[in-house]
Each structure stands twice: as structure tokens, then as C-alpha cells.
């Protein structure tokens, strides 16, 4: 089967994730979209690994998963804390950075 199709799927998933991050307000959904983008990248890595016939891409995918796991821990903690103080999970409500 043509490896290029995997790359199309990966690009599609990445685009869906990016659009979700930019357009959705709910922090949990934004978070899920980020995961989607990371996994799209993982799919690309693995595909390139297959195309090139070596293991570099697969090793890279493991790194990505580790980073994603850490990010989930920190990110969810932040979201929960913000929700506790603001009673809202909307990312637009947490806009104090401009001051």
C-alpha cells in the first residue's frame, strides 16, 4: 500500500487539530485537539520510518508520547486550577496575560 496515504491522513488529522485549537473555547477540547496534532505528527514519524526503512522515526514517536504524557499531566493540572478559581473552562476567560 502506498505510504503517501498515511501522510495524507496525518496532514488531515493535524489540520483538524490546529483548527480545533484556534476555534474552540473549551480548554478540555483545545487540549484534546493538541493531542490530535501530536498524534498526527507521530503518524508522520512512523510513516517516514517505514519509507526510509530505519527506526529513527519510531524512536522519535516514543519521545513524542513521553512528552505528550508529561504535557497532559501539567496541562490538566493547570486547567483544573483555573477552573477552580474562575468556575470556567473557557480559554478566553483566562486573558490576564495582556496586562
Amino acid at each position: 500500500m502506498d505510504a503517501g496515504n498515511y501522510l495524507y491522513v496525518s496532514a488531515l488529522l493535524f489540520t483538524i487539530g490546529a483548527v480545533g485549537v484556534v476555534l474552540r473555547r473549551n480548554a478540555i477540547v483545545v487540549f484534546m485537539c493538541i493531542e490530535l496534532m501530536l498524534n498526527a505528527a507521530n503518524l508522520s514519524f512512523v510513516t517516514f520510518s517505514r519509507i526510509n526503512g530505519d527506526l529513527n522515526g519510531q524512536v522519535m514517536a516514543f519521545f513524542t508520547m513521553v512528552v505528550a504524557a508529561c504535557e497532559v499531566v501539567v496541562g490538566l493540572a493547570i486547567i483544573v486550577t483555573i477552573y477552580r478559581s474562575r468556575r470556567s473552562a473557557s480559554v478566553d476567560d483566562a486573558n490576564l496575560l495582556k496586562r
Binding site: V22, V30, V91, D92, A94, N95, L97, K98
Partner: protein, 629 residues
Amino acid sequence: MTTSNSLVYLIALPLTGAALLLIGGGRTNKWGHLLATALSASSFGVGLYQLAQMLGRTNDARPVSQKLFEWIHVTNFNVDAGLLLDQLSICFVLLITGVGTLIHIYSISYMSHDHDRRRFFAYLNLFIAAMLLLVLGDSYLNLYVGWEGVGLASYLLIGFWNQKPAYATASKKAFVMNRVGDMGLSFAIMIAFATMGTVSFSGVADQAQHTSKAALTAMGIMLLVAAAGKSAQFPLQAWLGDAMAGPTPVSALIHAATMVTAGVYLITRSNFIFDAAPTAQLLVVIVGAITLMFGALIGTAKDDIKKALAASTMSQIGYMILAAGLGPVGYAFAIMHLLTHGFFKAGMFLGAGSVMHGMNDEVNMRKYGALRKFMPITFATFGLGYLAILGVPPFAGFYSKDMIIESAFNAGGTKGIILGSVTLLGAGITAFYMTRVMILTFTGTKRWDEEAHPHESPWLMWLPMGILAIGSVASGYLLSRGNALVNWLHPLFIQHVKHEELLKPIVVSGLALTMVALGVAIAFNKYARQDVANVAPEKVSRITKFVRQDLMQDRFNEAVFMRPGQALTATLVATDELVIDGAVRGVGSIALGSGSALRGVQNGFVRSYAALILIGAVALVAAIWVVVA
């Protein structure tokens, strides 16, 4: 040349006095004036000692020098701080210290009510020291130090009562106008250094004949500018009238007898330059002639007794400058008139001070009148000075002024006739305005303010006046007896070239006396036989109005120098603000503007940041793609 170790004391004594009184401050208040007077007198003593030494030597061995220290020593340019006392400078030394001491004595009484008398005496001593350095310096550079010193002392003393803004302005005006002349002197020194490689008098005198005429002429003109600034000569004359803001002893010492004659000294001292540069010499004569008429005309319209005398000083120095510009025939006569003028003008200024002292510091002559009975000594001394300035024989001015008129006539050709007529006419106008001063002040009816109680001044004041009056009577005769002064100064100047006499001396004297009699008669007719108003009449001819405004000298300076100067300054300030500051501020506002424009991006919404990152990443990838493909 003979050397001496005692020349430095001439300067050091009064300089010590100035330093002690200024540094000592209030602690010296009680005895400061006595110390200053004693130091000035001892400086006069040293001068007399030097004169006695000098008389004991032959003509060629008379100049004395003293090297103080090595001042500037750069490869081929060496200037030592050195003093030179020769036949010319001894005249000045004795005039400065002699008249200076008398004026110190006078000031003890005149300034006794001033709480700042000590500071006044400190400045007087400073002036004496600076003026002595001016006439004793053996190079133009040493002279320059003294030249600036007297300018400073003059500034400090004119503005002595600087709590009055007008007086402070007058001192600033004198200082600024003097600076113009000082620039001339510094240019002259630079020319001397550039073309001759030396600035000492003897060096320049030796080099003068090997130097191009153009350089000598330029140097001569620059020296003339310097002399004009210091001696209140046309076109830098406007400061002298305002300088009368200073206490009267200052006017007598600095603005009549000594400092304002420094220009005459400079030209006489630089005779080797002017003799070799006829164009510059002609300019000197022209400046002298213009100023002598200018001052005389201003003198006719002044109601302020000190300003009338100041105008007269300007005119008399015009005579000296004119004589100095006539070349070797005139130098000695310039110095002779300078010395006699030092006596009679200082005496008259002190007389004016005495009158003011008795009249509550009133200076307007229209509010004087009939003071002869109340101030007999002042009247007598002032009267002797008056006869001297008129040139009535056998008083001092007769000898000195007639010599100048005679030399002017004998200058040859049309030039001689023009100069002779100007000096004659000047003598007539002098007689007119001085008679006017005499009549308005001492005779006629009382026109006093109610609170005036005229009285004779104390002996400390009339004693110096009396001594100066004796000088006004006798100095002319003594200096010209057997051509004493001419022979004394003879070795310093190029030998006389005998001119053909246009008019015989007796004819010149006759003409001069006729002019004087005419001037006196007109003044007598106008002021003694009619009542004088105690305010200046308003309905007067245009000419009178013109003369009253000092022949528009201030307006001229304002229009020609001040306004364009201000415009130039304003332009430069505007350029500074627009171009230089503009560039600096421009950089700032560009940063500020771009900052506030970009601030909108930082809106605090995470999603917009994410969108920007996305756009950036896409743009980056697109760019790489374009480049690689």
C-alpha cells in the same frame, strides 16, 4: 640690556593687596582700604626709584628688563614671562601708580559710607596690578594678560553697584564690547607668531622689516581694533558712556586716566608695525579723527556731568590716537597729551565726584547751579582742569594739544589740512561743552532739589583733587620744556623726518585759541546769559535730538550687530531643535509608534496567540518549500 630684580615689586605689591583683601574677606574691613592705599603708594615709590635709576644712565642703557619665569617653551616658540621697563613704560608706571594712589586716597572718603568698601579697594588694587602688567610686559602675550586683567577689573568696578540692573547691564556692555577688541589683539598676536615666529616686542621689531607688507598691515589693523575696543574709539566707542555707572573714582582712574589710554600705549608700542604699514597708519588717523569729533559732539548734548566728561575723554583719546597715527612725529605728542590728560581729566572726574558727594549723588547738571560759593575748592580745582583741557596757555593742555594740532597740519597735503581742521574744530567744540559744564555746575541760579545741601568735601577728597590740579597747571610746561618728553622718548622711535611746516607754531596757537574763544563765547551766550531749565527742553531741533541719542551709536549697534546676531542665534537654535533634536526624538517616536501599533497583537487571548503561531509556522514551511522547490 640692564637687568633688575625689583621690577616685579611694582606689580606684586598691589596684587598682594588685592589677594589679601579678597581672600581675607570681612576680617580686613577695618584696615583693608589703608593697606590697599599703602601698597599702591609703595608701588609708586618703586616707580620713582626706577625713574631715579634710569635718569642716572645714558640713553641706550635706560631700558631695564627682568625675566620672571619660562612660560611657554615649545620647540621653536619660546615666551618668557618677562618685564620691560623703558622710557615709554616708566611714563605709564608713574601715571598709573601716581594717579592711582591719589584716587585710592580720595576713595577712602568717597566710599566711606559704602559697606563694601573693602571689596572696592581690592578691585582697585587688582586694576593697578593688571594695568602695570599691561605696560610692563615685554611681549604681546604678556601684554595680553594685563589687557584682559584690566578688562576684568573694569567690568567688576563698573558693576560695583550691581544691585541696580542698569549698572549690571552697563558693566556687561563694556565687557562684551571690550571682547571685540580683545579678539583683535589675539588675532594680531597670531599673525605675529605665524609670520615672524615671535611675539616679543624686540623680536617683532627686528623681524618687521623682513615681513611682507600685507602681514604687517593686517597686524596693524588688528592692533587698531584692539586699541579701539579698549580706548572707546570709533566704531567700538559705545560702552564708555554707560561705564559711568561705576563709582566716580573708578571713572577717574580707569575710564579717564589709565585703562582707556591703553590703546594709545599699544599703538605707540607697536610703532615699528605702523611705520612699516602706511595703510594701517592711515586708518589709525581716520579712527582718531572720527572719534575726536564724535566724542566732542556727544559732549555738547549731555546733561549728566559724568557722561559729559566721558564723551570728552573719548574725544581727547581721539586726539591721542590721531597723534599716534601721524607716525614718528606724533608718538611723543600722543604720550604727552595722554599724561596731561591723565592729570586734568582725572582731576575733573574727582571734582564731579565731589559735586555729586555734596548733592546727594545727583548727576544731572541742570539741577546744579551756583555751586561756586558752596564748594570753593572743588570749583578751583575743576576750574584749573577746565583751563587745562581748553588749552589756555600756560596750562597743560595748551602744550600737548597745540603740538597735536600743529603736527596734524604738518602731516602734508590735503590730509594735513583735513586733519588740522578737524583737530581745530574739535578744540572749539571742546571749549563749548566744557564751558557749558562749568556754567551749568558752578554759576548761574540754584536749580537744586529740595533735599540737596551742598557742602565742600572733606580734605581726604580735596587733597588729591588739589594735587591733580597742580599737575593740570604744570605738567604741560614741565614735559615740553626743552622738549623734555620728546627727547626722553626719542631713542624708542625711528628718527624724525623733518616735514615742511605748513603753518608756524604761533599761527597754530593763534588759530586754536581763536576757536577756543569762539566755543567759550557761544556757550557763554547760550547758558550764562539765559536762564537754564532744570529739565532738558523737549522742543529742540532734529540735530539736537540726534546728538542726544549719542549719534545713534546704540541703535546702530543694535541694528547692525545685535539684531542679526539674535537672528543667527535663533536660526541656530531652531536648527538644533529641528535637525539634531528632531533626529533623536524621531528615533524615539518611531520605536514608540511601532510599539503601540504592535501592542494590539498582545490581547491576552490564548487562541489568537495559537493562531499567530500557526500562521507563522505555515509561513515558515511555505517559505522553505518555495526555496527548496
